[in-house]
Symmetry: C2
């Protein structure tokens, strides 16, 4: 163990999840516990806020609010979509980051995010080494997309999957109550990887239950096949529920969401008519198959439904944050905390250090053999893989019938450097 006395900085980036704050809480509480870290700072709005020297101290927040972070959805520290350039092209940014770290004696940097954020944590680590600034930069994975390579799964995925599977079960019951044929079209997040859409399969126990078909971005989408599928379900069950990823594309590589967009109307007010894949499929079904169509777009509900988070996911997210601090204190840098599933009968995951450069900017998709031959559902292997990740429910603090979530004051500390404006 190489001790390095100093302060730490934790920040969040990319799209929120139900448990990204559980990871932050793990970082913060472990940093408080260890004797190696003095002040626990947070960067407001990820790397973008850090570049602006927008920093607040967790030591100033009420411990009860920090404890509540464990169950609070969305990025409580603020988020950004800022992507650092390569060190060669954007050295100014890196120099600024190290200057800020130095000014506040930040020796530990914990960055919670997806592929892009792991890239940031990696480059910051490299640059610190290059300029001889002693820094421990550790990435903490999060994404509902579950698309990080090497590791078993990402924190955030299990909770979103649990909400999708449960809602799909409920929507499926709702979709079958009438005596006339109906079609329900459910759009689920996932631009390139269909993991979350695949999790809707966990709603299904019997053949007649929703979802009847699952369309993934890993497979080309065919309107002819879709047409045949929907008609077949209506014939058998008098209703059809389909789940699909926002990122499905046709054979020629065109996003379904963009079909017809070249021709989108401008209405009486001069408003552009917007819409996604959901509307394209709805429109297809209304015109060709069945007039009674409902669309369900899970939108930001799916990634923020902390009231129905998976306890397994929640605990793992906390553990990843906690382990990031331990690994940092042990002297590691340029690494990500990854979850590795044990080869045992009962589900169990341990953390392991992964090289950030192996994770950054790479995507894990659903393997072809976990998708059925027809390309319109997932296999039991996929279901068995996802099932343990959605087990258990989180205990919430309820107030007035709704969950009480954390509320941080986020009072920024005094800036020590010149003003800087992130472009």
């Amino acid at each position: 163990m190489t001790s390095l006395k100093g302060n730490c900085l934790v920040a969040q980036s990319g799209g929120p999840t139900s448990v990204i704050n559980a990871s932050a809480c793990g970082v913060i509480q472990e940093a408080f516990r260890t004797g190696e870290i003095n002040e626990v700072y947070a960067g407001l709005n990820g790397i973008a806020g850090i570049l602006n020297e927008e920093i607040f101290s967790l030591n100033e927040e009420h411990p009860e609010e920090i404890e509540l972070l464990k169950v609070t959805p969305a990025s409580a520290l603020g988020s950004c979509r800022y992507k650092l350039k390569s060190i060669e092209e954007g050295e100014k940014d890196y120099r600024r980051i190290i200057d800020i770290f130095e000014a506040h004696n930040i020796r530990y940097f914990f960055y919670i995010g997806g592929n892009d954020s792991m890239d940031t944590a990696h480059k910051v680590s490299l640059y610190a080494q290059k300029v001889g600034y002693e820094l421990r930069s550790i990435g903490v994975p999060k994404t509902i997309d579950n698309d990080l390579p090497i590791i078993d799964h990402t924190p955030g995925f299990g909770s979103a999957a649990k909400f999708i599977a449960t809602s799909m079960k409920e929507i499926g019951l709702d979709a079958r109550v009438y005596d006339y044929p109906t079609v329900t079209i459910c759009e689920i997040m996932g631009r390139n990887a269909g993991w979350l859409t695949a999790s809707s399969a966990l709603a299904k126990e019997f053949e007649d239950q929703a979802p009847h078909y699952i369309y993934l971005p890993e497979m080309p989408f065919s309107f002819e096949k879709f047409d045949k599928d929907v008609r077949s379900a209506i014939e058998k069950y008098n209703h059809c529920v389909v789940a699909f990823s926002e990122g499905i594309k046709t054979e020629d590589g065109k996003y379904v969401s963009e079909i017809g967009s070249e021709n989108k109307a401008v209405d009486a007010f001069g408003h552009v008519q917007l819409g996604g894949a959901c509307e394209v499929l709805e429109s297809y079904v209304v015109r060709n198959i069945c007039k009674k169509v409902r669309t369900v777009n899970f939108s930001t509900i799916q990634r923020s439904a902390a009231h129905w988070a998976s306890l397994t996911d929640n605990e793992e997210a906390y553990m990843c944050g906690q382990m990031a601090v331990r690994y940092g204190v042990e002297g590691h840098t340029g690494k990500m905390v990854g979850m590795i599933r044990e080869k045992s009968k009962d589900y169990h995951c341990n953390t392991q250090l992964i090289d950030l450069e192996d994770v950054a900017n790479r995507e894990k998709k659903i393997p072809r053999e976990w998708i059925n031959e027809e390309g319109n559902f997932v296999t039991t292997e996929a279901v068995d893989y996802i099932k343990p990740l959605i087990m258990g429910e989180v205990k919430l603090r309820m107030e007035n019938g709704v969950p009480r979530y954390a509320r941080l004051s986020k009072k920024l500390i005094a800036k020590k450097l010149d003003v800087w404006k992130v472009k």
Copy 2:
């Protein structure tokens, strides 16, 4: 107490809710308990199925599945949108219903539904009296819209309101994570009454929290006012979350959802571009205020989210079903079971008999004094009225990380009458 030995028939109608089956369960279990009822039948798909003599027996279902109905969303007995004509115009239908009741010795008819269904229960009661068929017809209210007159509230509303309030809190946290301005537009069910949309206000504790504005069908919608509201929230909080009812209309009585529809595009595939009020508002904001807009349409999620049902609502729904049987056995007919709030400090509701004719086809809207002067939010009176209805959480039976809901076999009994086809 006028004893009337015979069988009973329970059926469901209209849009599903999270607790409509809790009411059915109350009817069924109470009918089993009382010594007055022999067989407990269900009409498949409400009055439409009854006209087809599509009936199954709850005595044949597993008691455990009946118990699970208590927490199962959507209409487990099936539903319909069939509206009976007046007795003068549609006597054939009524004659048919009484013939079926007579053939199966059905002496109790419990109909669970909204305004239209109460109208049906009422007319069937009247017709039975007219032709001298002894029948006890009792209505059990349900609707997430909370728009039945006289009674304090309807079963189904509290659970939908709890889900909306909780999700709004979660979506609100999600909507504020970025460092650039964003607008989130949330569409909530309610064609003419804004009760459910109003319940989004229960997400808000502090001024800066979502929802920033609530637009109800009770007030005319103005794009100018909307524009001003959204800009003001962005200025103050760097983000804006609005909740609105699907049924909002402009000053001239036109549904916002229909604006621009005369001009809707037909895309490259010949598909009609569909969309509701959500898309119209999104389009307005993108063109005029801010490019970063998210839409959230709660669709059927809001009425089927039994995993987050209100315990209060759930227990009341069960009680309404149970009391319907007791009132029927006592000799009442042509009545609805209504919930009346006691004038006490702590919330408590009792059931009371309401004349069906006073309820049928009438709507209860939010009173003007419960909407703020500007017409863009609700008052604390509205919040205080809704709050007790969303209290408590239901205990679910979990299997594989998702709730286990009831599954009835619904084996139809042998028909005794000639075939009949509902038009």
